[in-house]
C-alpha cells in the first residue's frame, strides 16, 4: 500500500491523477480461509481490519453481495456521538468515538470526521428533566455533555426558531461537543484499503447463499461463486441479519424495518452543528457539499424493500420546517431507504452463537454508524479469542435469556 500524503498528492497531480494505485485488490476467492466475514459494510470491514491488526489473523475474506458500503453504511446520516444513558452502551460508544478520533491517522485515509457538536432538543418540561438527568448520567461516565438554554442554542444554531409560541417550542438541549459527522463511504473504503494492505481478501459481487455445518460446527459458506471453507464464519449483514442467521438455524430477536433519509439541494454554509429532536422526530446536518442531510423515523412494519412510505417523510419535513422555517424554501434532491435490524431493547448483538465457529454482529438498528469502529474492534476480539471482550460481553445473545437487557429504547436521547 502506497502511503497517502501531501507528497503523493503532488506527485500524482503532475501525472494528471492517472497513476494512483488501486485502493484494494479484487482477488478471486481462495478455497480456504482462517475466517470469513459475511458483509462488506463498515462493520464487516472494520472487523477484518482489527482481526489483522490486533490479532494477527490475516488469512481472512470479506464477502459482499453488492459493493462495499452499498448497504446502510452508504445510506446513513452519519451522526456520531457517545452520549448514551446506560453504562454498557456508554462504554461501547465512547470506545467507538475514541477510535474515530484517531481513525484518519490509523488508516492513512481521511474519513472527514467533523466534531461539530450534536444537539438533542427538549420541547416540554418532561424532556428537560429527562435531558438533565441524562447529561448528569453521561458526565458520571466521563463523557462530555452539557445542558443548553434556548439562548445558548440560538448562539450555536442561529437559524433555529426558539419562539415560545410554536407548536413544539425549543426549551433546551443537551450537547455533546465531541459528537459530529464523518464521511460514510470513506469509513468503509479506509477500512477496506487498510485491511487489504494487511492481506485480507475483499470479494465483492459474491452473495452468501448458505452456511455449511458439520455437526454443531461451521465449516464454510456456499456462495454464488462456489463453496469457500473456513473454521470461523462471522455474519455482519445489517438489514439481513435474520436471513443469514436462519441459514444456520439461529433464532434472533431482530425485526427489520425501512428507515429513510434525504438530502436537499446544496446551499452555502448555514448549519454548523447536528440538530436532533426526538419529540418532533428530525435530525439534520449540512454536508461539506452544502446539502442538508435529513433523516426520518422508521416505517412501522417489517420490510426488506429499502424504501418507505411517504407519510413518514412528510412528518419529518414538517418537523424540519417547524424548527427551521427558512428551510421550507429548499427542494429535496434525493430520498432513499435502508433496512435497519432492531432488537427489542434497541441495543446491538455482538456475539457467539450456539453453532461453534459462527459469530453474529447485528441489530444496531438506526444508530450503528457511530458504532462502526468499536463494533469491528470487539467483534474481531470475539472471533479471534472465541469469547467476547469486556466491552461487548453485555451485548451477547445470552441477554435475551438472562433478562439483562440494555434498554436504550427511549434511553438514547434520540434514536440515531
Amino acid at each position: 500500500m502506497k502511503k497517502y500524503s501531501i507528497f503523493s498528492l503532488a506527485r500524482n497531480a503532475f501525472k494528471f491523477h492517472q497513476d494512483w494505485e488501486k485502493a484494494w485488490r479484487s482477488p478471486e476467492p481462495k478455497k480456504n480461509y482462517d475466517a470469513i466475514i459475511v458483509g462488506g459494510g463498515g462493520h464487516g470491514l472494520a472487523t477484518a481490519y482489527y482481526l489483522a491488526k490486533e490479532h494477527g489473523i490475516t488469512n481472512v475474506a470479506v464477502i459482499e453481495k453488492g459493493w462495499l458500503g452499498g448497504g446502510n453504511t452508504g445510506r446513513n446520516t452519519t451522526i456520531i456521538r457517545s452520549n448514551y444513558l446506560w453504562d454498557e452502551s456508554a462504554r461501547m460508544y465512547e470506545k467507538s468515538l475514541q477510535l474515530y478520533e484517531g481513525l484518519s491517522q490509523d488508516l492513512n485515509y481521511n474519513i472527514m470526521l467533523s466534531q461539530r457538536g450534536v444537539l438533542n432538543l427538549a420541547h416540554n418540561l418532561q424532556d428537560i428533566r429527562e435531558l438533565k438527568r441524562r447529561v448528569n448520567a453521561i458526565k458520571l461516565n466521563g463523557i462530555d455533555s452539557e445542558f443548553l438554554t434556548p439562548e445558548q442554542i440560538k448562539s450555536i444554531v442561529p437559524m433555529i426558531n426558539i419562539s415560545p409560541s410554536i407548536r413544539y417550542p425549543v426549551l433546551g438541549a443537551s450537547i455533546q461537543r465531541r459528537g459530529g459527522v464523518a464521511r460514510h463511504d470513506a469509513v468503509a473504503w479506509g477500512y477496506a484499503r487498510a485491511a487489504d494492505a494487511r492481506g485480507v481478501d475483499i470479494i465483492q459481487q459474491c452473495e452468501v447463499t448458505g452456511i455449511i455445518r458439520d455437526g454443531g460446527r461451521v465449516t464454510g459458506v456456499e456462495t454464488t461463486r462456489g463453496v469457500i471453507n473456513a473454521p470461523k464464519v462471522a455474519i455482519v449483514t445489517a438489514g439481513h441479519s435474520s436471513v443469514l442467521a436462519a441459514m444456520a438455524d439461529v433464532r434472533l430477536p431482530i425485526s427489520s424495518f425501512p428507515l429513510q433519509a434525504m438530502v436537499t439541494e446544496p446551499v452555502k454554509p448555514i448549519l454548523n452543528s447536528v440538530v436532533m429532536s426526538n419529540a418532533v422526530h428530525c435530525y439534520i446536518s449540512q454536508s461539506d457539499k452544502g446539502e442538508l442531510v435529513l433523516g426520518a423515523g422508521i416505517d412501522g412494519y417489517n420490510s426488506y424493500t429499502q424504501r418507505g412510505s411517504l407519510h413518514i417523510v412528510e412528518e419529518q419535513l414538517a418537523a424540519v420546517c417547524l424548527l427551521f422555517p427558512i428551510f421550507s424554501r429548499l427542494r429535496i434532491m434525493r430520498k432513499w431507504g435502508g433496512i435497519v435490524d432492531t432488537c427489542p431493547d434497541a441495543s446491538p448483538i455482538v456475539s457467539k452463537t450456539h453453532v461453534d465457529g459462527l459469530y453474529i454482529n447485528g441489530g444496531w438498528g438506526t444508530g450503528g454508524f457511530k458504532g462502526t469502529p468499536a463494533s469491528g474492534w470487539t467483534f474481531a476480539h470475539t472471533i479471534a479469542r472465541d469469547e467476547p471482550h469486556a466491552l461487548n460481553a453485555p451485548f451477547t445473545l445470552d441477554r435475551f435469556t438472562s433478562g439483562s437487557l440494555i434498554d436504550e429504547h427511549g434511553a438514547a436521547a434520540v434514536a440515531h
Binding site: S242, Y301, Y304, S309, F400
Partner: protein, 111 residues
C-alpha cells in the same frame, strides 16, 4: 404507502393502521413450567422472513379491530387479510412463496 384491506372496512391507507408485529405467537399455557430459553423464545425471538410474513395490524383510526395480514416483505405485496382466530390463507401463500426468497424457519417450541 401501503393500501391495507381491513376485513371489516375494506381497503384503507396505511396511516389509519398500526402494525402489531408477528402473528400467531401463542401465550404459554403453563407459564411457571417454562425454562428461561422458552421465555426468551416467546418474549423476544422473532421470525423475520424476507418473503411471506404473517403479521398483525390494528385499524386504529377506523373500526379499531385487530386482524392478520399475509404480506411479502421483499416486495410489500399484500397477499390477503384474515380475521383473528382464522387460519392463514395457506394455498395462496404457497403459490406466492414459490417466488419468495429465504424464510426463517420456526423451531418446535412454545408457539
Amino acid at each position: 404507502m401501503l393500501l391495507i384491506p381491513c376485513p371489516w372496512c375494506g381497503e384503507r391507507d396505511e396511516p389509519e393502521f398500526h402494525h402489531g408485529g408477528e402473528a400467531h405467537i401463542e401465550r404459554p399455557l403453563e407459564p411457571d413450567q417454562l425454562t428461561d430459553e422458552e421465555w426468551a423464545e416467546y418474549m423476544f425471538m422473532r421470525t423475520n422472513p424476507k418473503g411471506v410474513f404473517l403479521e398483525r395490524w390494528v385499524h386504529q383510526s377506523g373500526c379499531r379491530r385487530w386482524f392478520n395480514l399475509a404480506r411479502n416483505t421483499a416486495t410489500n405485496e399484500i397477499i390477503g387479510a384474515y380475521k383473528m382466530g382464522e387460519k392463514p390463507p395457506t394455498s395462496t401463500i404457497a403459490n406466492k412463496q414459490k417466488t419468495a426468497t429465504v424464510s426463517n424457519k420456526k423451531p418446535k417450541g412454545v408457539r
